[in-house]
Amino acid sequence: MTRTVLTVDDSRTMRDMLRMALAGAGFNVVEAVDGEHGLEVLSAHRPDVIITDINMPKLDGFGFIEAVRVDDDYRAIPILVLTTESDPSKKQRAREAGATGWIVKPFNPEKLVEAIRRVAA
């Protein structure tokens, strides 16, 4: 069964990169442009894994993760956070918000798929 990955990133380039890597690995990809949009797409597509950026307009990654984690329907979905830096404080904040794991940009497709494998059943 094809698994669905929701990517949330305000950068079209990043979304395209993610889509290329994920589609190449056989995932179904749905996209959102910010946290608010991510919550909408979430209810429509029920992804198996979420990959989200942190710096986004409207609702940032932290807020998005928190919103997913307080929703009984979605809180078991693994969430991987995209960060450009291995900045420990940002990573820590994302984890406190409920992130399952993280991917440091720039990523290569193998590492991305590996990170998904590590969190997705």
Partner: protein, 762 residues
């Protein structure tokens, strides 16, 4: 890697947008119009550029963006105060960033000295205490670039304090294979995992950790559920069990730790080399088990095959439970697995890419050639439809007949199709406008002026083909406004003005045309000087008396330049005359108004599209001509008493309270030698771009028609007084009149002495 190349194209497109956002945000900050989110948006813009650049390995761009981003991060977290000076620095940095983006794209090169100097400035602004020297290495080698694509948490180490629990790590090995002599002792590890409830709260899953461990080598996992309370006391959200896993792997402790990277801190983890002695484990197990309500609970051994099980889409909790034990010991099952929910998506849910404003707006990319082809075809359709209408008219079919009414509907539909097709190619002028703030900064720097650009109407839409040709005239008008219009800060202060001059760039739609205005609040045109220069250069005769407006427009004459010395900026051999000619070639007009001491306004008007035109079809000396509807104020049949002779050959028409010159189109275009009495024809009152009026005399009016413009220059050559050509419904070619040129031609004819332009233009 075609796909990657395509993404790279997207990246650079996005960079353009991000750079525009960046500049827009910084300008808002400069004007004090920023809300709390502006600085965040500005940060995000640079951050996203860096992120994308990193993905493509565009090192110099990444490096510069990193330094820039660091400063913006400090600014948005209020570590450093926002000041006008800082904003000015950020604006200049955004210019350098734009250069880096262009260079990365292969368009131009970055002046590395400028870039390094800017990076150093940014670094100092971020941390004023940092010595300038310290800035250089950071600019050269940001740590970020060298970071591995995925950071491995191995160096983080475990927090030993977390293990100071009232819990003894243990391993129970019930499998005889564990003692397999073939396995070297050094390759056997015992991993003790005691998950905390936080681990599950973050949607991590013990079963997946075991699966990951099994990728390192054969494992045997043992569950200790001795801490599990009786069912009625179980908190479903809590974690009670401990796993002990024997791993055979040659990959070492780091590889094992890496498996637990994501759950660092969310579980107690102990990794020991070798087997845990069974006796010890049993002993400690008994210790712990004593207070447990279920002392008889035996450790349950679970074996996981060495190769990872096929990945399934079952929810995490569901898979974990059968692995662990018949009891609900493993996962506190935080929620129903997503797949289990079979409720249809709520009606409000939208498809991912639809109805989302902003950057995610759904966009179809189409080859422009296809659109051009479509526009051509629609043009043909319009012509064809006009031809049909004409034929039907010729057959004398009543307008109320079904056929005529059907044709009317067809005409409306054709028009709608045409509008829609043109709208596809319409774009906001923003793409041109957004390049201008930088130009203004640079010109202001070069000329020692202080200038602030105010833009209006960036979202005004115009055909893409027009947009492409707007850039040069606007650039030139802005340069001119700053270089010649604005005074130096000292002069401005002396005149009681704000030392910072304001240049306003606006776009608006006006009667089917796009109008671009460039307005400065400078000193205005020095008419005496303009006049004397024009005389000195022999452009006008010295004894001419000119109106203010006429003097202002002298600057469009070829070979006119008011600057005493040719400056860096405007003096590129391109005068306003060249601008005027290029604008005219597009069917546009340019004019200027000026008020001494208050400033000047350049007004540029262009047709919205270069493809179609609404026109009045008239008959002149047996020729069919089209007069652009936008120029026509009214049409009338003159009475003899309204016509007054003026001079030897000219005459004027009294229209209400004023007199306008009468121009016989046939005479002006040399269709005939003598003009028939105007009372026999029709007069079209037209208004030129500069507001001057004239009464054009034609023989008859055929009607109003939309015509498809065919360039005369491309197909033949430029003809004075004629803007373009079109094909009428009957297949004949008709010329489209250039109204302003006709007015000027007539002025030039037998020279009435009061007219400056006729001498000037020659």
């Amino acid at each position: 890697m075609d796909e990657l190349e395509a993404i790279k194209v997207t990246f650079f497109q996005e960079c353009e947008e991000l750079l525009a956002d960046l500049e827009g945000g910084l300008l808002a900050m400069q004007d004090g119009n920023d809300d709390g989110d502006t600085v965040n948006a500005v940060f995000r813009a640079v951050h996203s550029i860096k992120g994308g650049a990193g993905a493509f390995g565009l090192e110099p761009l990444v490096r510069f963006a990193h330094v820039f981003e660091t400063l913006l991060d400090a600014l948005r977290s209020n570590e450093i105060p926002g000041t006008p000076d800082l904003t000015a620095l950020l604006l200049r940095a955004s210019d350098v960033l734009a250069d880096h983006v262009s260079a990365a794209r292969g368009l131009g090169v970055v002046d590395m000295d400028v870039s390094a100097a800017m990076a150093a400035e940014l670094k100092i602004a971020t941390d004023p205490n940092a010595a300038p020297a310290a800035a250089a290495p950071v600019a050269e080698a940001p740590q970020y670039v060298d970071a591995a694509p995925i950071v491995i948490g191995a160096d983080d180490g475990m927090d030993d304090d977390d293990l100071g629990f009232d819990f003894q790590p243990m391993t129970i090995t019930l499998d005889a294979q564990a003692a397999d002599a073939a396995v070297l002792d050094g390759d056997v590890w015992t991993v003790s995992i005691r998950p905390k409830s936080d681990l599950y709260r973050k949607a991590n899953e013990t079963a997946l950790l075991l699966r990951e461990l099994s990728r390192l080598g054969p494992i045997q996992a043992t569950l200790d559920d001795s801490a599990l309370p009786a069912l009625e006391f179980i908190d479903p959200e809590a974690a009670y069990v401990t796993w002990s896993v024997r791993v055979e792997t040659e990959q070492g402790e780091e590889a094992i730790r890496e498996v637990f990277e994501f759950v660092d801190g969310d579980c107690d983890l102990e990794i020991t080399r070798g087997e845990a002695p069974v006796a010890d484990v049993l002993a400690s197990l008994l210790d712990i088990a004593a207070p447990a309500p279920a002392p008889e609970a035996a450790p349950v051994a679970v074996e996981i095959p060495a190769e990872a099980p096929p990945v399934s889409a079952v929810g995490p909790a569901a898979e974990a439970a059968p692995l662990a034990a018949p009891m609900p010991v493993s996962a506190p099952a935080p929620a129903a697995p997503p797949v289990a929910a079979n409720a249809p998506a709520p009606a409000a849910a939208k498809p991912a890419q639809i109805d989302v404003p902003g950057p995610g707006q759904s966009v179809i990319r189409v080859d422009p050639e296809r659109i051009d082809r479509l526009i051509d075809l629609v043009g043909e359709l319009v012509i064809n439809q006009a031809m049909l209408a004409q034929r039907v008219g010729e057959y004398g079919i009543a307008p109320s007949s079904n056929l005529a009414m059907g044709l009317d509907e067809l005409e409306q539909l054709t028009r709608e199709i045409q509008d829609s097709v043109m709208a596809i190619r319409a774009q906001p002028v923003k793409s041109v406008f957004q390049r201008m703030p930088r130009l203004v900064r640079e010109v202001a720097n070069m000329t020692g002026k202080q200038a602030r650009l105010v833009m209006d109407g960036e979202n005004t839409e115009v055909d893409k083909t027009v947009i492409e040709r707007l850039s040069d005239p606007i650039t030139h008008m802005l340069r001119n406004a700053i270089d010649h219009g604005l005074e130096s800060p000292e002069e401005r202060k002396a005149a009681g003005k704000n030392p910072e001059g304001v240049v306003r760039l606006a776009a608006l739609h006006r009667s089917g045309r796009i109008v671009i205005e460039v307005q400065d609040d400078g000193k205005g045109i020095n008419r005496e000087r303009v006049h004397s220069i024009a005389v000195k250069k022999g452009l006008i005769s010295p004894d001419l008396t000119l109106t203010d407006e006429e003097i202002d427009n002298l600057i469009f004459l070829p070979g006119f330049s008011t600057a005493d010395k040719i400056s860096d900026v405007s003096g590129r051999g391109v005068g306003m005359d060249v601008v005027k000619r290029s604008v005219q070639a597009l069917g546009g007009r340019i004019s200027i108004t000026s008020r001494p001491g208050l400033g000047s306004t350049f007004t540029l008007s262009l047709p919205l599209t270069l493809a179609v035109l609404d026109g009045m079809v008239v008959d002149v000396a047996g020729e069919t001509l089209v007069i652009p509807l936008a120029c026509i104020v009214e049409s009338l049949r003159p009475k003899a008493e309204e016509i007054r002779p003026l001079g030897p050959v000219g005459s004027v028409l009294a229209v209400r309270d004023s007199f306008v010159p009468l121009i016989d189109v046939g005479l002006t275009l040399n269709y005939r030698d003598r003009s028939p009495p105007p009372t026999e024809g029709v007069v079209l009152l037209v208004e030129g771009e500069d507001g001057s009026r004239a009464a054009l005399v034609a023989d008859a009016i055929h009607g109003q028609r939309q015509v498809v413009i065919k360039s005369l220059e491309q197909n033949y050559q430029q003809v004075e007084g004629v803007a373009a050509a079109t094909i009428l419904g009957d297949g004949r070619v008709a010329l489209i009149l250039d109204v302003d040129a006709v007015i000027n031609l007539r002025r030039r004819g037998p020279p009435p002495p009061s007219d400056p332009t006729l001498i000037a233009a020659e």
